[in-house]
Amino acid sequence: MSTRSWRLHVRAASAGAVAGALLTLSAHVLAGDRRGTDDAARETATQLAPQFEPWAQPLIEISDGAQLPLFVVQGMLGGALLSVSVAVLRRGRFDAS
């Protein structure tokens, strides 16, 4: 990989990671304390089958405070990868034309 493409990838990944982080953060801030539909569905299931007991627990317990940073990391990963792939696809087509 040439230095020029390497730089393009790093720039695209950084920009995508920042955009992904900002997007995830602002979505969470806007959502605030609104209840997620996953929780609402769980509540409905409990009303329909009050005797049902969940038979497995998540592998790790994540506190409310730690959840947001982890989602931001996921957003950063997605943003970085999306940005690099879009940049490469666009450059490939530009070079071909």
């Binding site: 209840r35 539909t37 996953d38 569905a41 409905t44 998540p58 592998l59 999306l82 530009f94």
Partner: protein, 214 residues
């Protein structure tokens, strides 16, 4: 659409995993064949997977006073084909179950079935139908992504209704679960359609090929 860890009866959890696994296996083979046949497809596959990863990290507020995640599988289905999506959805759901405690390993099969199988098939069907009736490609992609989002949540509602029919039966339970998801998801699906069309536009006009058949 993430059914919480341990929140499906054991038989249902096993049944959905058994139902999802063949799709994941065929999908892994489709991805591998696609990359071997045309290495340039790697970037389209990466973009599709990244889009699912990015969109499923967003907890978006809705007009209904609740929040939910978009799905992101509609764009990938149009870009690389619906056959490639189960493995991508499976990986994202595995990441979320293990790292974020979101969804779960026991409900992985059910979640893969709704996110990676039903959503993408509805997306590609809607895309082809929209093209046939003369919709512009960005509009077709947007409508396909929105329908995939709604279909994914409809499938989750069906899975939960089947598992928890209550005293009034599966149909009534489905209506209850569909209302829980539907009211929130309608505006988010429209938003996902717009976002998917925008990303598709940034890639596809330079590709010179019909996206779904690329």
């Amino acid at each position: 659409m993430h059914i919480v860890e341990g929140f499906l009866p054991v038989r249902h959890a096993i049944g959905w995993t058994v139902a999802a696994l063949p799709f994941v296996a065929v999908s892994a083979r489709a991805v591998s064949r696609r990359v071997n046949a045309e290495p340039a497809q790697r970037m389209r596959l990466a973009a599709s997977g990244a889009f699912v990863l990015l969109l499923s990290s967003l907890k978006l507020p809705s007009l209904a006073g609740s929040s939910a995640h978009p799905t992101g599988t509609g764009l990938g289905s149009v870009l690389v084909g619906q056959a490639c999506m189960p493995v991508m959805a499976g990986l994202v759901l595995l990441f979320q179950a293990v790292v974020l405690a979101h969804g779960g390993l026991t409900t992985w099969g059910a979640n893969v079935f709704s996110l990676g199988v039903v959503g993408p098939w509805v997306a590609i069907g809607t895309f082809r139908l929209a093209e046939r009736v003369g919709a512009s490609p960005p509009l077709a992609v947007g409508v396909a992504a929105a329908c995939a989002d709604l279909a994914t949540y409809a499938c989750t509602a069906m899975q939960l209704a089947w598992a928890f029919p209550g005293a009034t039966g599966v149909t009534d339970a489905f209506v209850r679960f569909a209302l829980v998801f539907g009211v929130t998801q309608l505006p988010l699906a429209a938003l996902e359609g717009v976002f998917s069309a925008a990303v598709w536009k940034s890639i596809a006009p330079l590709s010179g090929r019909r996206p779904a058949l690329a």
